[in-house]
């Protein structure tokens, strides 16, 4: 019971930090609102584009490489999700788990080498 309390209290602290992290911007911006001047001008509310009139919508199509890097990130991040518990429990698991993990990582490495050869990692 005591340990459960400790556990809950520690996460309560995390929640307190979350509340404060949200509260600080809210409070600071509220006080800012009281203090700062408000002198609206039409030209103040245009989008900045190096001094020229902005044209087109700015949500342009961006390079497809960003998506590919995002996909690679997902694959390797999931890999780390598997590696973390393995690393914590490694003491108990021993050499067998090491070989298993080696096989798993080599499979992903083949994927990385494939992407490398396909010039996915090359940024132009």
């Amino acid at each position: 019971m005591e340990l459960l309390n400790l556990y809950q209290n520690n996460y309560l602290i995390v929640f307190v930090f979350l509340c404060l992290g949200v509260l600080l911007p809210v409070v600071a911006l509220f006080f800012g609102k009281l203090l700062r001047p408000y002198k609206p001008l039409e030209s103040k509310y245009t989008t900045y584009e190096s001094g020229i009139e902005p044209f087109h919508d700015s949500r342009v199509q961006f390079n497809v490489r960003y998506y590919i890097f995002a996909l690679m990130f997902v694959i390797f991040d999931v890999e780390t999700v598997f590696l973390y518990p393995w690393a914590v429990a490694y003491e108990k698991l021993g050499i067998f788990a090491l070989v298993e993990m080696l096989i798993f990582v080599v499979m992903l490495l083949i994927g990385l080498i494939y992407a490398w050869k396909k010039k996915v990692l090359k940024w132009i």
Binding site: F17, L20, A28, R36, S58, V88, Y90
Partner: protein
Amino acid sequence: MIQDLLYSSPSLANFGIFFLLATVFLFVILGFVTYAILAERKVMGFMQLRHGPNQVGGRWGLLQTVADVLKLLLKEDTIPKLADRPLFILAPAIAFAPAFMVVATIPFTDSLQFADIGVGLLYYIAVSGLTTIGIVTGSWASNNKYSLLGGMRAAAQMISYEIPLVMSVLGIILLSGSLNLNEIVEAQKDGWFIILQPIAFIVFLIASVAELNRAPFDLPEAESELVAGFHVEYSGFRWAFFMLAEYVYFFAMASLITVLFLGGWLPLPFLGFIPGAVWFALKFSVVVFLLIWFRVTFPRVRADQLMEFGWKVLLPVALANIFLTALLKELLNAF
């Protein structure tokens, strides 16, 4: 007293007390940020044979950042008409909240720590990844071409360097057998992990500078090409929160490096009479100085070099380090 509080059943009173303590801590961090910015400007000044700020608050410019913050508070707040208003307002908060959340788990001494959670390291890494969402939200909501480019770059860079960052820590977890930051520090009694895990340290240091978006990896806000990157349209205090998030991460990352690699509050041999808090502060200052030094020394890398370095060099090295550590551990166990 705090121990009793931690073991008592969680209630609203506990919440109140934690809230007060955390508020005090928040102001400590804000104080750190204020003087870290000053220290950065002063150190950069001295390294470039200038004086740095020396007008406001005496010869050392001690009130310079305070004046800057007050100025930001009095700035008019403009939100472009084309911007996505709700997201534009939300973005600084999304960027800042995780930055403050991660410092909750960092142990400063064996007794001075806020949340001693079992998966502290994993918590840090998971929560710190959320800031990318804030940056991308802000850049997209601005409806500005520069900020969209900056935001996309920021996302690509932060996800690319998160992988080596996360993987380099695995060597430490293998050696200490725990994700709890207190236990990781305790495991360094016989030798700091900077000595036992030098490869991990180098990978982690490089990746952490990239995660912090600091020079030489400050492409998301490359002043000379993207004006200011993802926060072009932000002004006044909304902009200040992006900067604040950056410097709170600076604090958190320097603390994390101290905890993971430099033995946290553990003293050097024969110097155990100096209290742990002093040791932590010393090591922490060394890391902060090192990161400032990086900014002055290295020129910005190009976008293509950045991505290729992350995926082709750091990731394989970090992976190799994991298995090297595991194999060495097996060998040491065998004999």
